[in-house]
């Protein structure tokens, strides 16, 4: 994991919601997740893995269970020292952000396959 403290001008914005942004850095070949006023740089593989971790959280159980243990979900992105302690709402926000970014990455792949290239 790259330690990132602030936004670089080289980053390309992939997807944005009210709660966060995902950038791509071509120089380091990393995707940068800006969430909770923090930046976490992940490889494409780790980003996909983290997205799967967020997608597989049992939000139904979080919503219905009265057990304190189900109030939050603790996630550590692969090969990262960052730790997210997420409430149900934050899990939903993070899912929206990551799946939106994934769609944009797939769109970029599709464009490349069609012979188009984004600047």
């Amino acid at each position: 994991m790259y330690t990132v403290s602030s936004r670089s001008t080289d980053w390309i914005e992939i997807f944005r919601t009210d709660k966060g942004v995902v950038y791509q850095c071509d120089a380091t070949q990393r995707l940068i997740l800006a969430f909770w006023d923090t930046y976490t740089a992940l490889s494409a593989r780790d980003f996909a893995q983290f997205r799967r971790m967020v997608e597989t959280i049992d939000v139904r159980q979080m919503a219905l269970s009265t057990d304190l243990a189900h109030d939050v979900e603790i996630l550590t992105p692969p090969r990262s020292e960052r730790c997210y302690v997420l409430t149900l709402c934050e899990v939903i926000h993070l899912r929206e952000l990551l799946s939106g970014a994934q769609t944009m990455l797939e769109l970029n792949s599709l464009l490349r396959e069609c012979g188009c290239r984004l600047p």
Partner: protein
């Protein structure tokens, strides 16, 4: 803007998911065959036990082939969870009936993966899956032929039946 996803791997996510599900299915098959081998062993069907021990190893080999393929292609291979499988069976025949059902389920699954590959234009994975198509043709033939033997060999010759079941092979693969 670089295509970071493609730089990482040529395998699309839908194909990766399908292959990981297949890895799990093969490992479940391996576990089922091992349970069948154990049942045969403790009920005195030594030849059939040997047959299923071998089948169990083969299924694990099938899973590992996919596992290595995903790793080599830069995708993520997931070591699967294997749920509990049945350890007891009513008869030797029901063991072989279970084996045929399992092979049919695997064949259906392989066919589904190929349709995913075609949708995603993943010709490399489709090429790999062709090996599995041939393999399944063989596996289904053997399982079906074993069940035929139950009708051909009288029930009171159970030792002979056990012996013959372990000898069933398929050497007429039309693809080879």
């Amino acid at each position: 803007m670089k295509d970071l996803v493609r730089l990482r791997t040529p395998i699309k996510e839908s194909v990766e998911l399908a292959l990981n599900q297949q890895i799990q299915m093969e490992m479940v098959s391996s576990s089922k065959y091992l349970a069948m081998a154990g049942w045969c062993d403790r009920n005195g069907f030594d030849y059939s036990a040997g047959f299923f021990y071998k089948q169990s190893e083969e299924e694990r080999g099938h899973a590992m082939k996919l596992f290595h393929y995903l790793c080599d292609q830069g995708a993520t291979a997931i070591s699967p969870e294997v749920p509990a499988v049945a350890q007891e069976f009513d008869t030797l025949r029901s063991v072989f009936e279970g084996a045929l059902e399992q092979e049919i389920a695997v064949t259906d699954s392989i066919n589904r993966i190929i349709s995913v590959c075609r949708r995603e234009n993943d010709f490399a994975t489709e090429e790999l899956m062709k090996w599995y198509v041939k393999e399944q043709m063989e596996e289904e033939y053997i399982a079906r032929r074993c069940l035929d033997l139950f009708d051909q060999i009288p029930a009171d010759q159970i030792f002979e039946l056990d012996k013959q079941l372990s000898k069933v092979t398929y050497d007429g693969n039309v693809f080879e």
